[in-house]
Symmetry: C2
Subunit: 396 residues, 2 copies
């Protein structure tokens, strides 16, 4: 298999086609009539839009499932055929590369990990290529082509350019990752910031479906935040946004690596919790798992460390809510392993600090396995595949 027969493109020739497809993708099987209603189009337009997508195999028709209203012509449900195309998503951290194979509906089919021993871009790229190759080989069993690769990296990433401008954890600067990975793998590649990719996944396939304004807050080593406003992911004028971790909460708080005092991350980030846990309990605390254990054991003072972290997170979320009034806030992240230690304080301090109707925001939590980050990268790849115009408007 000597690589690619010119990359397959999505037959979205008109805005209506894109819109109908994404509507069906996000809102599950729909009748044509319902799809028309949700997309604000006429039923005739749906019929026309659906036809080429059916022909290309991206949509499929279910003989309707159940519970029809017993009157009138039965509806034919239209749904996305997830098995039509596969995507690979990769999350790169300082310690590991995690890769998943998903279908077109962004359901995880396989997952793989590889430790990172050398953080140099070249070495990491090799790991990415190896995992991609491995998943691609196994993907043959599913009888569908792999049509895109998404890579998620923390830090300052320019998705349009496909470059990592600066990633502190990896110590990368100006790495043209998309181009390199595309050369190595022969796949279309999307590179995005990890939190943004996760936000895209929530927007299209998760708790953000159908919402035009919501926030995703991730709790873990860092505290991050993805924003969707007016139905679009916010990237900021300089490519960076959602830095909730460096919102300063308390001028008398602990020093943060960014140079300020009392950043949310300096209170509630993994490292901050471990450090403080050592100070408070006077014990050895190897990592955040150990810190959680101490709190669960009921070691004096340990719970207060988490209470304080939860309060910081809650106040950070309240700040976000006060500033842009999201309909929902989705809290997520590895840090949620300790969620039972946090939860109450997060909600309490959010409620206390949210002003007026910002308190109406629906604050949810969502457990997040580490593979979910990689799934976010796959979601970015899927999004790019669907929205990339088939007319050659430059190359990414």
């Amino acid at each position: 298999m000597r690589s690619t027969s010119r990359a397959e493109t999505f037959p979205a020739h008109t805005p209506a086609v894109s819109q109908i497809f994404t509507t069906v993708l996000s809102h599950g099987p729909l009748t044509r009539l319902e799809a028309a209603r949700r997309a604000g189009l006429s039923p005739a337009a749906v019929t026309k839009a659906v036809r080429p997508l059916l022909a290309a195999g991206y949509l499929a028709e279910d003989a309707d499932g159940e519970a029809r209203p017993a009157l009138g012509r039965p509806a034919n449900l239209v749904r996305v055929d997830g098995g039509r195309a596969l995507f690979i998503g990769v999350k790169v951290t300082g310690d590991e590369v995690i890769a998943v194979l998903t279908d077109l509906c962004c359901r995880i089919l396989l997952a793989r990990r590889l430790p990172v021993t050398d953080r140099a871009a070249r070495a990491v790229l090799t790991s990415v290529a190896d995992l991609t190759h491995e998943l691609r080989t196994e993907a043959e069993d599913f009888g569908a082509p792999v049509l895109g690769l998404g890579i998620a990296v923390s830090g300052d990433v320019d998705r349009a350019e496909g470059t990592v401008r600066y990633s502190p954890f990896l110590d990368w600067r100006d790495v043209a990752l998309a181009e390199l990975a595309a050369m190595t793998t022969g796949l279309p590649v999307v590179v995005d910031n990890d939190v943004r990719a996760l936000t895209v996944a929530e927007q299209w396939f998760g708790a953000g479906v159908g919402l035009s304004d919501f926030a995703v807050v991730t709790v873990g080593a860092g505290i991050g935040c993805g924003l969707v406003i007016h139905g679009q992911v916010v990237s900021g004028a300089h490519g960076v946004a959602g830095e909730i971790g460096h919102v300063a909460i308390d001028p008398a708080g602990p020093l943060c690596h960014c140079g300020n005092r009392g950043c949310v991350e300096a209170i509630a980030g993994d490292a901050a919790i471990v450090t403080r846990m050592r100070e408070v309990t006077g014990r050895q605390v190897a990592d955040s798992a150990a810190a959680v254990a101490l709190a669960h054991e009921g070691v004096p003072g340990a719970r207060e460390v988490y209470a304080r972290a939860g309060e910081a997170i809650g106040r950070g979320i309240a700040t976000v809510a006060n500033l842009f009034g999201p309909e929902r806030v989705i809290i997520s992240g590895e840090g949620l392993a300790a969620y039972d230690l946090f939860a109450e304080q997060i909600l309490d301090s959010f409620t206390a600090a949210a002003f007026g109707s910002a308190a109406q925001s629906d604050v949810q939590t969502r457990p997040l396995a580490f593979e979910e980050w990689a799934r976010g990268a796959a979601a970015a790849a899927i999004q790019s595949f669907i929205t990339s115009s088939p007319t050659p408007t430059g190359k990414g």
Copy 2:
């Protein structure tokens, strides 16, 4: 003149027409070619879009001004004929009603004020109607019709519905202001939150022209913030956004009327400054003008009060920048009378607290006469006039 011959509507029959008009409105006189480039349309489309607007008098053609490139056919500049239509903008505060008459380019032609003695909606409405009538009468001298009325009120305002849901300063709840004012004046009425209206004015006619992501921060009795993201003003899912005044900066700070401690407004709002000035200097301080005077006199401790306020504002702005990454932040408001006392601290603490590329945001200040608030309301009315579809899609 027994009121209205059916309200005049803007002949924007297609998206292209709207787009061309707003492009010319914001970017001054343009050649058709240049307008096409900026709007992303073909020159042919511009010619077609411009024709009906010229015919209706909204656009005018300048025989080109100066400095042509001396080669090729001279360009004909197209500009908005500001004198074609007039608008009235009204800002309602707890103390005063301020009204301005503007032209279509949102230039202020006349301004009037009336003190508020009774804050009841009915009484305020009478003042609004009186001022509107007065300005309308004088507007006859300008030989152009008044085509809309904008009203700006602080608090929770539903622009689409035209209702004031809750305004703390006026103690209004659920006042259907647009409908009432429309009945009284016979004009199309837009009601919006004051900060949002000001943001619209900046977006279309001010320092936000051409930017898709910026913030407006107002300093005065309250501290407010208007956001434009993805080229649209942010209203939040519940109709409230930009509450920078209640971003909590310091858990050990002074108590705010919202019940929390250390809100920006509780440190840097007019009332907070006056209160603290009394405490620090031990003198009588009647109002914020008196407070400014004390600081300028060099009374011991007085300057520190402003330094502290400036620091709070700067940190609030940094929070906005960290979260949204705006291209520009426009600081404005009556509070700027004291700008020389603030400026350094605002910028310093912004720079210190902005994380990474958020510090690249261009922070500007813009003196703001009180009439500018009313002009913002006029801008909202202009926007509504231009974008309201001529096809009757309900009534506002």
